[in-house]
């Protein structure tokens, strides 16, 4: 299977704290993307980092990429209750296919 893995599977933090989730993937990539899924909804694209980039920021999101280790991390700073959701990484391979990680369920406690 080309499916990536994420850890932790579940994360519970207090509002205002930072949340970090990690992703590992298996093949060569063009880019790696992070998506968010609220309960009962479809996935929504958050941020994309290209294979030749090492770090990217968007608002309260910070993504890193280490292609030598085939891994990425997503940091959400100053978390809010509204950030409660599942977060998935998706590796876009050089063959133009998307493979999703197993997801991290984030709960932010008000």
């Amino acid at each position: 299977s080309q499916q990536g893995e994420e850890d932790p599977q579940a994360l519970s933090i207090q509002e205002g704290e930072n949340a970090t989730m990690n992703c590992s993937y298996k093949t060569s990539i063009n880019n790696l993307q992070w998506y968010r899924q609220n309960s009962g909804r479809g996935l929504v694209h958050l941020i994309l980092i290209r294979s030749n980039e090492r770090e990217k920021h968007s608002g309260r999101l910070r993504v890193t990429l280490d292609t030598s280790k085939k891994s990425s991390s997503l940091l959400i700073t100053a978390s809010r209750a509204a950030d409660t959701a599942s977060y998935f990484c998706a590796s876009k391979t050089t063959g133009n296919q998307f493979y999703f990680g197993t997801g991290t369920s984030l709960t932010v406690i008000p």
Partner: protein
């Protein structure tokens, strides 16, 4: 306006029945997908169509047949439904390019009894 819409949102049916899920995108994208999300939230690609042509067909039983009448629509027909088909099915679309990203529908929760 909803960018990727799929219907129905919920589908409850008996084993052995045949059912269809419809998907439409109004983003002008050239590629559409069907993904299956199981109870553990694993998200797996089933099919991918580019300009009405099948590009990806992962290991999916041939009871599942995608149909793309035009590049804005990708429907999923499932024959002889089985208990193990119960899952949430997501349609998605994208525009081919180096920074291609996926736009998802809100999902169809299929329950086979």
């Amino acid at each position: 306006d909803t960018a990727v819409s799929q219907t129905p949102k919920y589908l409850v049916t008996q084993m052995g029945n045949d059912k269809s899920i419809k998907c439409e995108q109004n983003l002008g994208h050239d590629t559409m997908y069907w993904y299956k999300q199981d109870s553990k939230k694993f998200l797996k690609i089933m099919f991918s169509y580019n300009n009405k042509e099948l590009i990806i067909n992962e290991t999916v039983p041939n009871r599942f047949s995608p149909k793309s009448p035009d590049k804005a629509h990708l429907n999923l027909h499932i024959n002889s439904l089985e208990l193990g088909d119960s899952a949430v099915y997501f349609c998605a679309s994208s525009q081919v390019g180096s920074d291609e990203k996926l736009f998802f529908g809100s999902g169809t929760q299929l329950s086979v009894l």
